[in-house]
């Protein structure tokens, strides 16, 4: 039972970020800035939780800050890649660098060097040791799947990622749809980051996302761009890590290097041998120029 809980806990931030990114990629955009948006969310959540008077603050307000901060970073990203049609990978990298610099600088300016921890309230546990973010991530998965595959909105989203020209011809605004998808992805990444700070540790440290955004990118590909696929991939990767922690604690020594490489190896395998169903949206990564 304990191991199941720790799998769910490790998988939560990965799943949240991956669900958002799956929507973004379905619309035809690759958001490599996921890592930076997570980090911004983690920091904003800490600031939000500390913004209410009284120690140790209000964690639920932190969630709101994380949503806003993730959304703001995403809006910046959307401005460059949708409006200015800039290279998505380059802008994504810039977002990552910006987030690292921005959070680090504000953190140091606000909390100074040395000193004790900044300590915030942790999100309340709703079900056993699971908090609202975990429950939200797992309940959102089928809803997102249903929306993408069974509703008109979802169809419009997919058409922007597959054939943006035809989508536009049939009256869908590709630019608006893509912008909306990016904002959603940014907010989900913000929540994923919030999970790392106020959801699990109750503190912030520089670069605490530590590559989780890139694992989420790998999850989207391994999960074949489907919400349910992302859930499975997040559980597999999260599970592998939780099992490895558990194994180490029990004295079974497993090399963590293997587990660190696992998401990327699986991604490459899916790409190489996944067949037809492993195909990305046809216009993924291509800027759309409205004529």
């Amino acid at each position: 039972m304990d191991i199941l809980i720790s799998i769910l806990m490790v998988a939560t931030p990965l799943l949240l970020a991956a669900l958002g990114e799956a929507i973004v990629q379905k619309s035809g955009i690759v958001n490599v800035g996921l890592e930076g948006m997570m980090l911004t969310g983690a920091f904003a959540a800490t600031l939000g939780a500390l913004s209410t008077p009284g120690h140790p603050g209000n964690a639920v307000l932190g969630l709101l800050y994380a949503l806003l901060a993730g959304g703001a970073m995403a809006a910046l990203f959307a401005f460059f890649v949708v409006k200015l049609e800039a290279n998505q990978v380059v802008v994504g990298v810039v977002v990552n660098l910006l987030a690292l610099g921005l959070t680090g600088t504000i953190y140091r300016a606000k909390f100074g060097q040395g000193g004790g921890f900044i300590s915030t309230q942790i999100l309340p546990h709703l079900l056993g040791k699971l908090n609202g973010l975990t429950l939200f991530a797992f309940f959102a998965t089928p809803l997102i799947w249903f929306w993408v595959n069974r509703t008109r909105g979802g169809l419009e989203l997919r058409s922007c990622g597959e054939q943006p020209l035809s989508a536009e011809a049939s009256g869908i605004s590709v630019l608006k749809t893509r912008t909306g998808a990016i904002l959603f992805g940014g907010m989900m990444a913000g929540l994923a980051g919030a999970y790392l700070s106020i959801g699990s540790t109750g503190t912030f440290s520089e670069n605490m996302s530590s590559g989780r955004g890139f694992i989420a990118l790998a999850i989207v590909t391994s999960g074949r761009w489907s919400a349910v696929g992302c859930l499975i991939a997040a559980l597999v990767f999260g599970g592998a890590e939780a099992l490895q922690f558990q194994g180490q604690a029990l004295g079974i020594h497993l090399p963590y290097q293997v587990f660190n490489a696992l998401p990327y190896v699986v991604t490459l395998l899916v790409l190489a041998f996944g067949g037809k169903s492993a195909q990305a949206p046809a216009s993924l990564g291509r800027p759309y120029h409205k004529s």
Binding site: D2, S6, M9, V10, V30, V32, E35, V89, G92, V93, N96, L97, L100, G101, G104, T105, Y107, R108, Q113, G114, G116, F117, L196, S200, T201, G202, T203, S205, E206, N207, M208, S210, G211, R212, F214, L217, T221, A242, F245, Q246, Q248, A249, L250, G251, Y256, Q257, F259, N260, T267, L268, L271, A278, Q279, A280, A282, L284, G285
Partner: protein, 366 residues
């Protein structure tokens, strides 16, 4: 097929992004230490003029509450107490690609002494040091190149870890203690070996459970590993995992009375008063201060310099919050161990590798 090829290209992009995201193209002002560098380079050497000292930090940065923070403390003290150029400062490396650039940047700004904080900079130092024979290069925790202008600072961490292990095993109610390491490198293995030997010396029946996060930054990983160790019976956990290790302290704090974390490098006792049993202190600040002072006084000596338990280079923190919880008899034994470790010749030799630990013979403390 086209789609797949494009996707693979996309993945290539991701890889590049991964590499690029680690670099800092230009030293950014927000990351710099005390002040912005002056355009005018101060003349190096010890001709009475104040010297300019530069510190190149590894990726952890001055807020790691640990190794780099200690180096910064040494620099701050040097600026305050010695008559050195107040523009002396540090540069933080964002990735290994920055080491060479940061070292060169200080050297060409006219620094008299440049201290590279971290073993990872050894290769970069080897390349840069010969190019600036007038500049003193000092590296912490690694071999310096054999040059008249290069020196290295080493610490006998295993001695401090031995004491931490002895204390943890003496204090454990569950007869199980934990160790959370960062990345599995020989330096951290040295911490593990010293800690295990100390625990074995206190009580051979005490079990030491060891995990590695594989990461210096992911605080949540440190916390979940500590949670797992606590769930599996450990009640005291020593961390040597940089910022990830701060998660271990958070875990002990969350567990509350009866559970402890042990901090590392700097005195981390105040991070969670009462829940950090002690910290294995590595006085990088003292070493940095001494080095700057030596250069200032014209007393710089090339080669190796060792900081051990006798010079206060390593050891346990003063245990401001937890001293009252530790039995007097255990404190007395710790004092005894300190003397034995520092004696010439030492009567306790703490192991530095797991292989040495395997053949370690428990000494008698009395």
């Amino acid at each position: 097929m086209r789609t797949r090829r494009e996707l693979l290209q996309g993945l290539g992009g991701v890889t590049i992004a991964l590499i690029v995201s680690g670099c800092d193209p230009a030293p950014d002002k927000g990351k710099e230490g005390t002040t912005v560098p002056g355009k005018k380079a101060t003349e190096g050497g010890n001709g009475g003029k104040p010297i300019f000292a530069g510190i190149v930090m590894d990726v952890g940065g001055p807020d790691d509450k640990s190794f780099n923070a200690a180096a910064n403390l040494g620099l701050t003290r040097a600026i305050a107490e010695l008559n050195i150029d107040p523009k002396s400062k540090y540069l933080q490396s964002k990735s290994p690609a920055d080491y060479k650039q940061n070292l060169t940047s200080f050297a060409s700004q006219g620094a008299s002494v440049i201290i590279a904080v971290g073993f990872a900079m050894a290769e970069a130092l080897k390349e840069v040091a010969p190019q600036f024979p007038g500049v003193k290069f000092v590296i912490v925790d690694a071999e310096a190149p054999k040059l008249p202008n290069a020196a290295s600072l080493h610490f006998k961490e295993e001695q401090g870890c031995f004491m931490a292990g002895y204390l943890a095993a003496s204090m454990s109610k569950t007869k199980t203690i934990g160790f959370v390491g960062g990345v599995e490198i020989p330096l951290i293995k040295k911490f593990e070996a010293g800690y295990k030997a100390g625990a074995k010396t206190a009580d051979p029946a005490v079990q030491v459970k060891v995990t590695y996060t594989g990461d210096w930054d992911a605080l949540d990983k440190g916390k979940s590993q500590a949670d797992q160790l606590f769930a599996n019976g450990a009640d005291i956990i020593f961390h040597a995992a940089g910022k990830a290790g701060l998660g271990v302290i958070r875990a002990a704090e969350a567990k509350g009375v009866g559970f402890y974390a042990i901090g590392v490098d700097q005195d981390q006792d105040a991070e969670a008063p009462g829940r950090v049993l002690t910290s294995m202190v590595k006085r990088v600040d003292v070493a940095v201060f001494d080095t700057i002072k030596a250069v200032q006084d014209g007393q710089f000596v090339a080669g190796e310099r060792m900081y051990d338990i006798t010079k206060g280079g390593v050891g346990l923190s003063e245990m401001k919050y937890t001293k009252k919880d530790v039995p007097v008899a255990v404190m007395a034994k710790l004092d005894k161990i300190k003397t034995m470790l520092g004696a010439t010749p030492p009567t306790i030799v703490a192991p530095t590798t797991l292989a040495e630990f395997d053949t370690f013979v428990v000494p008698k403390i009395d």
